[in-house]
Amino acid sequence: MPSAPSPLHLAVALDAAGWHPAAWREPGARPRELFTARYWTDLVTEAERGLLDFVTIEDSLSLQSSSFTGPDGRTDQVRGRLDAVLVAARVAPLTRHIGLVPTAVVTHTEPFHVSKAVATLDYVSTGRAGVQVKVSGRADEAPHFGRRPAVPLRVDELDSPAGLALLKELFDEAGDYVEVLRRLWDSWEDDAEIRDAATGRFIDRDKLHYIDFTGERFSVKGPSITPRPPQGQPVVAALAHRAEPFRLVATSADVGFVTPRDTEDTRAILTEIRDAQATAGRDGETVHVFGDLVVFLDDDPAAAADRRARLEERAGAPYTSDARVFTGTPAELADLLLEGREAGLTGFRLRPAALPHDLERITRGLVPELQRRGAFRTAYEAATLRGLLGLPRPANRYAAL
């Protein structure tokens, strides 16, 4: 008897007015509110209404730009953004079930700070935090920090020896970074706080641990100043397009976002990640691989196509993305998602082309469609993000057995 296929996991990627650069000009858009708490609260609340597993919140340490070296001088697109971890924190007390996965740029930040920030996000959301780690090879970000030389690299140079060397360096560092995050989260055992009035001890110091991490780019002593967060380990995610990031997903992440062109490509990517996972000795662990899709969703296929055409006309260019772009109805999208699950993906991260329109078509169109097909939850079944993703609360690596 074939086992019932596991239910699909569904996330949305939130970015400004949506992933299409002209999205802010759409009738339902709220371009003047992009820097307000209410805007983000409304979006995440809508995603929660649709019972989605989590939202990701994009971020970068430079102005959005089509150029890799600096601002592109465009005034017809959204520029400027808020710190994603803090956006997630602002929304956390106003939501109850949905996971919150902000982006953190690991190349220019301190793992100690990010570790306690994500742990704290886990506290303020009572167990719904994750983090999407992102490297930065952008030439304009390094001078914002002045700590490391800017390596000007064009996207078409990524496969050159210099490009590959840079990628390896950045992703090796990201791997170290995630290792430090994880060790810091474990640096307090769950029961370290004892409040033993009889002996006057607030903590049992034997249950706090130095992490003593030493790597190429940084070393961190530990322990964290923030006790182990509710989930033990918040969820670590990463976007991956090629070998180095696939390795990061396989060795370090709980969720990888990938961008296959088709089913065959999906299988190839999954093979690569699962092989690397085995090499890293993580076969027994769940590593989710989500497909990323940009979506233009309408109940009528022509409406979706028209809307995409209208946005492209306003942008003055056909829309392209690193991820596959889907234009159509919730039913057609449901077909595509189930096909992806067939190929081995455990979930999808949908990038709404325009907000809130495409988000609402996901929550009010796609989700009911998937529910009808028995492929998506009808109520939140767990209180934590790990719980929603079927990930166990991990044992503490430092706890004596």
């Binding site: 002209a22 802010w24 000009r25 858009a29 371009p31 003047r32 820097f35 307000t36 708490a37 970068s60 340490l61 430079s62 102005l63 959005q64 600096g70 001088g73 465009r74 005034t75 017809d76 697109q77 520029r79 400027g80 808020l82 710190d83 971890v85 803090l86 956006v87 924190a89 602002r90 929304v91 956390a92 007390p93 220019h108 930040t109 301190e110 100690f112 700070h113 920030a117 742990a119 704290t120 506290y123 303020v124 009572t126 304009d140 001078p143 914002h144 920090f145 002045g146 706080e193 006057g200 001890r201 607030f202 110091r205 706090l208 940084f218 002593k221 322990p223 100043i225 923030t226 006790p227």
Partner: protein
Amino acid sequence: MSKPVKQIHLAAHFPGVNNSTVWSDPAAGSQIDFSSFAHLARTAERAKFDFLFLAEGLRLREQNGEIYDLDVVGRPDTFTVLTALAAVTEKLGLAGTINSTFNEPYEVARQFATLDHLSAGRAAWNVVTSWDEFTGQNFRRGGFLAQEDRYLRARQFLAATWELFDSWRGDEITADQDAGIFLTDPAPGRFDHHVDQFDISGHFNVPRSPQGRPVIFQAGDSEEGREFAASGADAIFTRHGTLEDGQAFYTDVKRRLARYGRTHDELKILPGVSFVLGDTDADAREKADVIRHQQVSGPTAIKLLEQLWNRDLGSYDPDGPLPTVDPLVGENTVARGRASVRMHRDPVATAARWRALAEEKDLSIRELIIAVTGRQSFIGSPATVAEALNHFVQSDASDGFILTPHLTPGGLDDFADTVVPLLQERGVFRREYEGDTLREHLGLGAAGAVRSDPAGAANRKAAS
């Protein structure tokens, strides 16, 4: 001509990592769970306080080579918890202590600008300058900053973030959907900052926030610290709690303002103080005595003594006399990551003073420590405390207070219910918030009057 009656500023300090928090009390709750922070913030807002304040520590404290276990240990990330608090409050200012040594201006400016956006103008930054290598072991930058460089970096850090806050004028975003013009400037947020500590340039990516820049606090008492505050801060968090000390400090710091072209009202002086309320003054004094003994147990007294003596004093009896040996001078190797270590500038002189005091009043180690480590505490019935607080402010010993309750999270409840109404009756404390931003609560001007080099002390001195 009589002096105008001053309005008192009040803030709540979330009690945490120090021996003033009585964690063993049955009413003590979590120092980490968000519900604790939300409770204190809601109480402070109900009482119409100016702001809630968070301290920061970036390495767990150690003594005699071991993690310190007698006090509360553990705290959340400052930015994250303050931003979450913005969701459960509407007017309360949100002040975070952030270190200028183990951070970078671009990131800190983004975080404060974001907090200011997401709280609609309620962010404040307490700039601290901890430098030690011990803390540095948790960071990429490491512990290389020499003590004399820390205010250099702090000044340059503040100037750099100030340039970033000012890099967007505030009118760039038009979001004209029909014309297809989102912003008027093709490359907003330009900055260029090349000084000893920073070699940075590019484009800041957070649009100008409601307050323009956060309210700036300084906490530190040295000559450099005072000058730093006078040149660029909006408020000082001080430990000078007695009336005389407070007045001397107040006069000294306010006197420095003119040098920077600033007026008396542009810098608020806010000592951190504690309080104990009782039905009667005698009742409160009794309670205060119990609390002080909870805060300073025998073992805690020895630990606090070791922090000055810089020696292992584990064999001493807390109920016995002070050691006759002198403190070890030099790098403090016994206690690490403890603020008090940095406060003891001349340990031998301090020890002599403590010994004299102990002899004069016949105090044991524990009683001596209780006597010398107490912050200014307002103790009495609500009427007594209200009167004392008001007298303090009207006598120019401060412009208000940062109150640290000894209980988490309910330690401010009684104060809000009993003392605040009395201050309101006297007409010295607001009944309703008159503005929306923290800058407005503190009676500070808009941040529009930009001094883009907040700490350019040298330049301004040379010009005057």
